[in-house]
C-alpha cells in the first residue's frame, strides 16, 4: 500500500492526468450509450473510437518516454514494436473471422486463399486462441527488443548511431511485411475483422469496451512506469543517462539496465499496438514506416520528455491537432508538425510539462 502512496505523492501532473482519464472513462460510455442520439450531448461512436485510438497512442508515447526521457535512449523505431503487437492482435482477429470471409474457408484467411496457399503457415498456429495472441503481443516485441538491444548495448552503440539503426530496423521490417510471401497479408495487411472474444466489432458496446480497456491499460502502464521510475532502478537509469561511465565505474552493468528498460518499453508499445488494431480495424506495413516512429518521438518532445504525464498529454494534443488539420488543411499538416517541433525545441526544451512546472515554480 505504501508503494501506491509513494507513487501518488509529489506527482501533481500525473494525478491530474489520471483524474482526467478517470472522468473520461465514466463520461464517455454514458454520453455514447445512455444519452439519446438526438441530444446535442450525445457522443458519436466515431468520437469514442477516435479517443480510444488516442489512448493507445498515449500508451505508445509513454513507452518511448520511459527509455528516451529517463535513459536517454532515443529510439526512432518504436513504431516497429507497436506494429508487431498490432499484428499479433490482427492475427487473432483474422482467425476469428473463420468461414465468414469472402472465400468462406474456415481455416485460411482470405489473402492466403487468394495466394493459393493450401495450409496455414506454422507461425499462425495458436492465434485462434485469445490467450495465446495476448502472450505474443508482449513476447514478440519483447524478444525483438531483447535481441536488438543485446547486440546494440553490448557493443556500446549510443546516441545518434543507435537512433539510426533503430530506424533501419523498422524500415527493414516494413519492407519484409510488404512481401506477400511473409504470410501477413502483404501491403493490404490484415483487415475485415468481424469480432473479438465473441463480441461484434461493429457494436457500440464493443467499441466502448475497447475504449475502456485502452484507458485501463494506459492507467496501469502509467503506474508501472511511475513505480519503475521511482525505484532505485529508476535512479540508476537516470544516472546512466547523465554519466554513463560513472555508473559503470561504481559497479552497474549499464548494458543490462538499458536492455531491461528497452524490453519493458517495447512490451508496452506492443500492448498499445494490440489495443489500436481492433479499434481502427486494420493493420498494415505502413505502421512500420520510419516516419511514424519519428512522429511519436515528436509527441513526447512536445509533451515534455522525462515526465510521464507529459508524454501522454503530448500524444493527445498532437494527434488532436493532426485530426483537425488533416480535416481542414490536409496539405499543411506535415509543415505544422515540423514547425511545432522546431518551436518546442527552441523555446520549450522541456516541452509543455516543463512550461507548467515553470509556471508552478513562479507562482510558489
Amino acid at each position: 500500500m505504501s508503494m501506491f502512496a509513494e507513487i501518488f505523492k509529489r506527482d501533481p501532473g500525473g494525478n491530474s492526468m489520471l483524474g482526467i482519464l478517470g472522468v473520461l472513462a465514466i463520461l464517455v460510455p454514458i454520453l455514447n450509450l445512455a444519452v439519446p442520439e438526438s441530444s446535442p450531448l450525445h457522443m458519436s461512436t466515431y468520437t469514442v473510437t477516435l479517443l480510444g485510438k488516442y489512448l493507445t497512442y498515449a500508451l505508445l508515447a509513454l513507452a518511448v518516454d520511459l527509455i528516451w526521457g529517463y535513459c536517454g535512449i532515443l529510439s526512432l523505431g518504436h513504431g516497429a514494436f507497436f506494429a508487431l503487437g498490432g499484428y499479433a492482435m490482427g492475427m487473432y482477429l483474422m482467425r476469428q473471422i473463420g468461414d465468414r470471409g469472402v472465400y468462406g474457408n474456415p481455416e485460411l484467411p482470405d489473402f492466403m486463399v487468394f495466394l493459393n496457399w493450401q495450409e496455414l503457415p506454422w507461425y499462425w498456429y495458436g492465434f485462434d486462441q485469445f490467450w495465446f495472441a495476448l502472450i505474443m503481443v508482449f513476447l514478440v516485441p519483447g524478444v525483438l527488443a531483447y535481441v536488438f538491444g543485446w547486440l546494440a548495448f553490448r557493443s556500446r552503440v549510443t546516441g545518434v548511431y543507435l537512433s539510426i539503426i533503430t530506424q533501419a530496423l523498422t524500415y527493414a521490417l516494413m519492407l519484409a511485411f510488404f512481401r506477400n510471401e511473409m504470410g501477413f497479408g502483404g501491403n493490404n495487411g490484415l483487415t475485415d475483422f468481424k469480432d473479438i472474444l465473441g463480441f461484434s466489432l461493429q457494436q457500440d458496446g464493443t467499441r466502448i469496451g475497447l475504449f475502456l480497456a485502452s484507458a485501463l491499460a494506459l492507467a496501469a502502464s502509467y503506474f508501472l512506469c511511475r513505480a519503475i521510475v521511482n525505484s532505485k532502478l529508476g535512479r540508476v537509469v537516470v544516472a546512466v543517462r547523465d554519466a554513463e561511465d560513472r555508473a559503470r565505474f561504481i559497479g552497474y552493468r549499464v548494458e543490462n539496465y538499458k536492455l531491461w528498460l528497452f524490453v519493458v518499453s517495447a512490451m508496452l508499445a506492443g500492448l498499445a499496438g494490440a489495443l489500436y488494431v481492433p479499434q481502427v480495424g486494420i493493420i498494415n506495413p505502413s505502421e512500420f514506416s520510419p516516419l511514424n516512429s519519428i512522429e511519436l518521438v515528436i509527441w513526447v518532445a512536445i509533451g515534455g520528455r522525462g515526465t510521464l504525464y507529459g508524454a501522454v498529454a503530448g500524444a493527445f494534443l498532437v494527434n488532436y491537432a493532426k485530426t483537425w488539420f488533416t480535416g481542414v488543411l490536409p496539405e499543411f499538416w506535415l509543415f505544422a508538425l515540423g514547425a511545432l517541433f522546431v518551436v518546442v525545441t527552441l523555446y520549450l526544451p522541456k516541452g509543455l510539462a516543463g512550461l507548467l512546472a515553470r509556471r508552478r515554480e513562479a507562482m510558489a
Binding site: 519503475i228 525505484s231 532505485k232 532502478l233 535512479r235 540508476v236 537516470v238 544516472a239 543517462r241 547523465d242 554519466a243 561511465d245 560513472r246 555508473a247 559503470r248 565505474f249 561504481i250 559497479g251 552497474y252 552493468r253 549499464v254 543490462n256 539496465y257 531491461w260
Partner: protein, 277 residues
C-alpha cells in the same frame, strides 16, 4: 610468440586453472605478499604512440601513493588499464596475488573493490547528494535486486556517516548539479567511500580547489590510507608534498623515479626532465 606465451600460461604448474577455483574464493583478495596491485610490463599504444611503455608498478596494501608526471606521461591511461576501460597490448595487471584484472569488465572491477575518481568531477547531476551516495553504495547491483531495493537503517547510517566525512550533511537534499566545484570533488570521493573499495584511484582531486578546500582534501585522503590503499595522481606539488610518503614519477609511459618526495626532487633524471630546458 604470443601463442607460446599463452600456452605456457595455461600449462603453469604453480596454480590451478581459473575455472577450477570455487566461485566463492575466486574473487577473494590475497595481499599476503604485501602489494595489493601489481602492474607489470604494461604497454598501451594508440596508433603507434606508446601511452604506456613497459610500465611496472607495485602498490602496497594500505599505502598512500602519489603519482606525478607531466601531461601525456600516461597517468590517466594507467588508471584506464587498471579499471578495465583500456585493454593493454602487453603486460599483466593483478589485484592481490590472484585476481587478473585484464579479464574483467569495469563493473566487475568496481565490485571486487577498486574505486575510481575521474579527473573532471563526475557526479549524477540530476540526483540529490543523498541519492548519489545511495547509488554508489556497495550493494547487489544486478537489475532485479535494484528494482526492489529499499534502504535499510544500517545503510542510512552509512550514508549519514559518509555525508559527515565529506562535509556535505547540510547539502544532502541539494541537486548535485548545483554544488560548487570543490563540493562535487568531495561528493565523488564520498561516492568512492560508499563503494567501500580496497583500492582508490584518485585522479587530480584538488584541481580547481581553493587552498582551504585543498587542505581539507589532504586531510581526508591521509585519513583514508591504512584502511584503504590510495593512489593519487596530481600536478600540484605543494599538495603532493603535504600528503605523500612515496612518490612515483612517470615519464613517457614508464617509471622514471620512485621514492620519498625529497629523494625524487633531488633525483638527477627528474630534474633533467622537469627543469631540463
Amino acid at each position: 610468440m604470443k601463442a607460446l606465451d599463452r600456452t605456457r600460461e595455461v600449462m603453469r604448474r604453480d596454480r590451478v586453472w581459473d575455472f577450477m577455483i570455487p566461485r566463492a574464493t575466486r574473487n577473494q583478495l590475497d595481499t599476503s605478499k604485501g602489494p595489493i596491485l601489481y602492474v607489470e610490463n604494461v604497454t598501451v599504444s594508440f596508433d603507434g604512440f606508446k601511452a604506456l611503455n613497459d610500465l611496472t608498478l607495485y602498490i602496497n596494501d594500505g599505502e598512500l601513493r602519489c603519482i606525478i608526471g607531466a601531461n601525456g606521461a600516461g597517468k590517466t591511461t594507467m588508471m584506464d588499464v587498471i579499471t578495465g576501460k583500456t585493454t593493454p597490448d602487453e603486460g599483466s595487471v593483478f589485484f592481490g596475488q590472484t585476481i587478473d584484472l585484464l579479464r574483467m569488465s569495469e563493473p566487475e572491477i568496481a565490485e571486487i573493490g577498486i574505486g575510481r575518481k575521474f579527473q573532471k568531477p563526475t557526479v549524477f547531476e540530476f540526483h540529490s547528494v543523498y541519492d548519489n551516495l545511495e547509488l554508489a553504495m556497495r550493494a547487489d547491483k544486478l537489475v532485479w535486486p535494484t528494482l526492489l531495493a529499499r534502504l535499510t537503517g544500517e545503510q542510512r547510517d552509512r550514508i549519514d556517516e559518509v555525508l559527515n566525512i565529506i562535509g556535505l550533511t547540510e547539502e544532502r537534499y541539494r541537486r548535485a548539479g548545483l554544488l560548487s566545484h570543490g563540493q562535487k570533488q568531495w561528493l565523488e570521493i564520498g561516492m568512492l567511500l560508499m563503494q567501500d573499495p580496497r583500492l582508490l584511484l584518485v585522479d587530480e582531486p584538488v584541481a580547481g580547489m581553493t587552498p582551504q578546500e585543498t587542505e581539507r582534501t589532504a586531510e581526508l585522503l591521509t585519513s583514508l590510507a591504512g584502511r584503504h590503499s590510495v593512489v593519487v595522481v596530481e600536478h600540484d606539488m605543494e599538495f603532493v608534498r603535504s600528503i605523500a610518503r612515496t612518490v612515483t614519477v612517470l615519464h613517457q609511459g614508464s617509471v622514471l623515479a620512485e621514492g620519498s618526495m625529497d629523494d625524487v626532487q633531488n633525483n638527477p633524471d627528474v630534474i633533467e626532465v622537469y627543469l631540463g630546458e
